[in-house]
């Protein structure tokens, strides 16, 4: 190692605490990004595995509306294709739906094992055809055992079932008996949320009649988009569509796009805070060595050599921090996987993440991000020190003068950034990326203005305290005159606090808006629903059970509803078909369209769309939305747009009678019951339970309990956001700790001098603590207005552009308390050790220190 590099390395090693804190800051930033990437990639991979596990060789799917596909079509298609010359398309029918087994929601998939094996093109070596049925015994069991099913060994273990064993599964609350033939061989990757059964069995359990959910198609390689695909599409009735499996899985995964984008933005925030910390650490290391670098320059080290030296240090620091960050990210990622998959299960689709995927690209990107972050952060101090004249013993006052000038310039830059953020929002109408860019510009603006605020307030405090005590004046003046040491750390803390306040207000505003929306929307007193996944077709209240319930004397009026997913040229659309009771109309708050005209249109076949759908598909009153009905494509007129927080993909509201007319589905999945006078909700719940008896296990909830459940799901959804913002705050706290610790330790001589002049040990400790707390409070003061702007950006821009809904801003003092506690805790933690050290330091040695 050359002497120049040795000097550099040894300097870093001589300041282990400073080095460690900088590494921790960067590692936390990089670790958060890695963790989010791992969690979302793992959920995505699990979803893809589950898609590939059943008919993974399919290239296309034939899908229909909520009524499914007449199974005779499958026969007709096979016959038609069988007559065609090679190459031929291969088909496999599928019936699927959601069931509950052992308290877990699982996907029931009915297949024709021979057709599915045929889809594989004669069977694949790694999957014994058909579908893991090993030998004639199992094949016989598949067709002859009542309720015969297959599932992965993991799923069997989770349900406590062994080969030949029986268990109960519920379809829409109706219990059925199933028997496990045998656990599937191998890992059964992707099948942990799947129960496989024969197609006829699935039709029976799901009450699908002679209908199929979809037909999987495998087109021979190289024929996609060609005459064969066109011929197949030409054989389909108007209500069915042929689409590629890739497009279908993309559509499903796209549902989580806004969710994962938000997660990534939060993790980027942690890295941004980490960047400032690295900047602080490198500029402090440069500052400490300015005299040495002056000597090096005088001895003949060129500017380039000094630049390379400082950037080289930063690169090593960046790579080491990123490597630690990757390891940390792996650890945090494992924890985050559970939270992410739970949110996806709550909001989007059923997925079980058993394996943590660590994409190689993530690790490389994290290392590159760590390196780039460190280099970008180090560039300014490196250029500054390399560009300055090699004068020795540059006066501290000169340095602080420069820092003060820089603070003034940064305050101006902050103003420009804030204006830039406003312009970015104004000029970009829908871009979520631009929204996040504006948000980050705003946060950087906070960081940029904080040193100037610190200086101004410190000078003002010094003037005010001059008459009180010279020590108090010294404490304040010292803070204002040490921007070169403390400015960056305070800026990082200010930015993290602003983000914390902003996110806190956004979450609270969302919570309040949701609570108000629930109060307004949930008008009925008791809700009865068939259990299962929201848009699952199998969710239907048995007609007999429904008749018995509606005959109960305690019901004044009732609403009926059916939720399904239908296809449209723009992708799948969730449809909420309702027959509303008179009091239920008041539960809708229109954000576009006249309510009276909207309801009139609704009664005559027009649709209402929720805010998220209106935003996503650019719909407004009088525009139209084409949906694929059982009678083919039909353009429905939009009569109004209403507020809705229950579904971030958005939904279409249609009159139940109109739905039945267009889709030929007379199922009802939920009832909203209004109490007759003198009847309590608990009495009605008991009566409904009695009416359903053992025929169907329905979910019967009071208005209050359903609101409580909704709020619980909301809280679970925001757990990840909270985890991430605490990580970002943690990074900032570490940065403050690092900078203040270094600053205070550097002042050991000055503090020793104060001791010799008569300041008591307790007085010295109080002085140090007062200074660090002062800085924490200043960071908070700078962060409060910025936090409010951040909250506005998050609610009015980010949420609007990501999900399409508007949130009413709710402010409460409690939203600022987390930021206050963080500022105080970080400042106190940063001050305690130097305070203790300065109070106990031996004066003679302290004075000797240079």
């Amino acid at each position: 190692m050359t002497a120049l590099r040795a000097a550099s390395v040894r300097h870093l090693l001589r300041h282990p605490a400073q080095l460690a804190l900088a590494l921790v800051g960067l590692a936390l930033g990089v670790g958060t990004i890695v963790a989010v990437d791992i969690a979302t990639a793992s959920a995505r991979r699990a979803f893809e595995l589950s898609l590939g596990a059943v008919n993974g060789a399919a290239t296309h799917q034939i899908v229909g509306g909520p009524g499914g596909i007449d199974e005779r079509l499958y026969v007709r298609l096979r016959t038609a294709l069988g007559e065609a010359s090679e190459p031929r398309a291969r088909l496999a029918p599928v019936v699927e739906g959601y069931v509950t087994a052992g308290g877990r929601v699982m996907e029931l998939v009915g297949v024709d094992p021979f057709a599915s094996a045929g889809l594989e093109g004669g069977g694949r070596a790694d999957r014994p055809a058909p579908f893991g049925l090993e030998g004639p015994e199992q094949a016989r069991a598949w067709f002859t055992w009542p309720g015969a099913v297959l599932m992965s060994a993991g799923a069997a273990r989770a349900l406590g079932v062994t080969a030949g064993g029986g268990f109960e599964l519920e379809v829409g609350g109706v219990p059925h008996r199933a028997t496990l033939i045998a656990p599937l061989p191998g890992t059964g990757a992707g099948l942990d949320t799947v129960i496989l059964t024969d197609i006829a069995q699935a039709q029976e359990w799901l009450q699908a009649g002679p209908r199929l959910s979809r037909i999987d198609v495998r087109l021979p390689p190289g024929t996609a988009g060609g005459p064969l695909e066109r011929a197949l599409a030409g054989l389909l009735p108007a209500d069915l569509t042929l689409r590629s499996t890739r497009a279908a899985s993309r559509e499903t995964l796209a549902m989580t796009d806004a969710f994962t984008t938000n997660l990534k933005a939060m993790s980027l925030l942690a890295l941004l805070v980490g960047t400032l910390l690295i900047y602080g650490a490198v500029s402090f290391a440069v500052l400490q060595r300015r005299p040495i670098i002056g000597v090096l320059r005088a001895l003949g080290a060129t500017r380039r050599e000094v630049l390379v030296l400082v950037l080289g240090e930063a690169a090593v620091l960046g790579l080491a921090g990123a490597a630690c960050g990757v390891l940390l990210g792996l650890a945090i990622g494992r924890g985050l996987v559970g939270l992410v998959s739970r949110t996806i299960n709550d909001l989007y689709f059923v997925v079980a993440v058993n394996e943590v995927s660590v994409p190689a690209g993530t690790v490389l990107a994290a290392l590159a991000a760590g390196l780039a972050t460190a280099l970008v952060a180090a560039l300014l101090p490196a250029l500054e020190v390399a560009g300055s004249a090699p004068q020795l013993g540059l006066a501290r006052s000169v340095l602080e003068g420069r820092a003060a000038r820089a603070a003034r310039r940064l305050a101006l830059a902050s103003l420009l950034l804030a204006l830039g953020a406003g312009l970015t929002v104004a000029l970009s109408r829908r871009s979520l990326f631009a929204g996040f860019a504006a948000l980050f510009m705003l946060l950087i603006a906070v960081a940029a203005v904080t040193p100037a605020v610190l200086r101004l307030l410190a000078q003002a405090a010094a003037r005010l305290s001059a008459g009180v005590s010279p020590v108090a004046r010294l404490a304040c003046a010292d803070v204002g005159a040490s921007l070169s040491r403390t400015g960056v750390a305070i800026a990082a803390l200010g930015m993290a606090l602003a983000a914390m306040i902003g996110v806190g207000i956004m979450v609270e505003s969302f919570r309040e808006s949701l609570r108000e929306w629930l109060v307004q929307t949930m008008r009925a007193d008791v809700y009865v629903t068939a259990p299962g996944v929201a848009e699952g077709l199998e969710r239907r209240i048995e007609p007999e059970v429904m008749r018995a319930i509606l005959a109960l004397p305690g019901i004044r009026v009732h609403s009926e509803g059916r939720r399904v997913t239908v296809t449209s040229p723009l992708g799948p659309v969730d449809l909420n078909a309702l027959s509303l009771a008179p009091p239920s109309y008041a539960g809708f708050r229109f954000t576009a369209g006249d309510p009276a005209r909207a309801w009139s249109g609704f009664a005559h076949g027009a649709i209402l769309v929720s805010e998220p759908l209106a935003w996503r598909l650019s719909l407004e009153p009088a525009s139209s939305l084409t949906l694929i009905t059982a009678q083919g494509a039909h353009a429905f007129t939009v009569a109004g747009v209403y507020r809705e927080y229950g579904n971030d993909r958005g939904e279409v509201l249609i009159d139940l009678h109109e739905y039945r007319r267009w889709w030929h589905d007379d199922g009802v999945a939920g009832l909203g019951l209004y109490l007759a006078p003198g009847v309590s909700d608990s009495q009605l719940i008991a009566a409904v339970r009695g009416a359903a008896g053992s025929r169907q296990a329905l979910l019967i909830r009071s208005n209050a309990s359903i609101r409580e459940l909704s709020m619980r799901i909301f809280e679970r959804t925001f757990v990840i956001t909270r985890v991430l913002y605490w990580l970002a705050a943690g990074v900032a706290a570490v940065g403050l700790l690092s900078a203040l610790l270094a600053w205070e330790l550097e002042r050991a001589r000055e503090l020793a001098l104060l001791r010799t002049l008569g300041l008591t040990p307790r007085g010295t400790a109080a002085l140090v603590l007062a200074q660090t707390v002062f800085m924490g409070v200043v960071a908070l003061l700078a962060a409060i207005p910025a936090g409010l702007l951040t909250a506005l950006t998050l609610t009015e821009v980010i949420n609007r552009r990501a999900f399409g809904w508007r949130i009413d801003l709710h402010l409460a003092p409690a939203q600022f308390s987390n930021a206050l506690w963080l500022a105080l805790a970080a400042a106190l933690a940063a001050g305690v050790y130097p305070a203790w050290r300065s109070a106990r330091a031996a004066l003679a040695s302290g004075l000797r220190e240079e």
Binding site: L4, A7, I292, L296, L299, G300, T302, E305, Q391
Partner: protein, 231 residues
């Protein structure tokens, strides 16, 4: 040969301008030893910084062995300095994170010398200042005199034509200064190095071939010990 013509340098402090050097002229022959004296703040250190190219003049030229240093840009000025100029400072300015030998070797490495050859030359330089046995000591374990001897070894290890010394005994007691002086003089003499030293120390100044006094921005001959050039 060091030739300085019409050298000027001012510093601004708020609205006031301090004219530190004002049309300074000087010539120093190869191998000559020149002491520069003057009151604090007269511009002695500024002059050394301008000669070495650490600082840039407002006007005038500095020429060392036919090279107009003041006309060079970066990094040519730095590359010239590290090859042809040595520095000894009042406060030693050793790198605290390097040991004694590494401090000396640093200059060789900056000039492209590496490995065993660089190690041997740095040890030889330490030998000549009597510190070979402390080669691997940390610099903060050395006394002031020893640190200055390391600084002299570092300044001369790459055999520069010009050695600039800024108060080389200013931070040492008399006894230590008396030890350092012969080392500095014998080493420059042995290598034929031109020596320009700034000092307040009359004893040190007395060892020079010429003593110049910096006054009102210009150099004035004070004592001509031997024949010498100068204004």
């Amino acid at each position: 040969m060091l030739i300085i013509r019409q050298l000027s340098r001012s510093f601004r402090e708020g609205a006031r301008v301090h004219r530190v050097l004002d049309g300074l002229e000087a010539e120093v022959r190869p191998g000559e030893r020149v002491a520069i004296m003057g009151r604090s703040g007269s511009g002695k250190s500024t002059l050394l910084n301008l000669i070495s190219g650490i600082d840039e003049p407002d006007g005038g030229t500095v020429e060392i062995d036919g090279v107009a240093v003041s006309g060079l840009g970066e990094p040519a000025r730095t590359l010239f300095r590290r090859a042809h100029v040595g520095f000894v400072y009042q406060f030693f300015n050793l790198i605290p994170t390097l040991d004694v030998a590494e401090n000396v070797r640093l200059v060789l490495e900056l000039n492209g010398a590496r490995g065993a050859a660089a190690r041997a030359r740095s040890l030889a330089a330490l030998e000549s200042v009597g510190l070979a046995s402390r080669a691997h000591s940390a610099v903060d374990q050395l006394s002031g005199g020893e640190q200055q001897r390391v600084a002299i070894a570092r300044a001369l290890v790459h055999e520069p034509g010009l050695l600039l010394a800024d108060e080389p005994t200013g931070n040492l007691d008399d006894a230590t200064a008396r030890e350092i002086l012969p080392v500095l003089l014998s080493m420059t003499r042995a290598r034929g190095t031109t020596l320009v030293m700034v000092t307040h120390d009359e004893a040190l100044a007395a060892t020079a071939d010429r003593v110049l006094e910096l006054r009102e921005g210009r150099l004035h001959a004070r004592t001509a010990v031997q024949s010498g050039a100068g204004p």
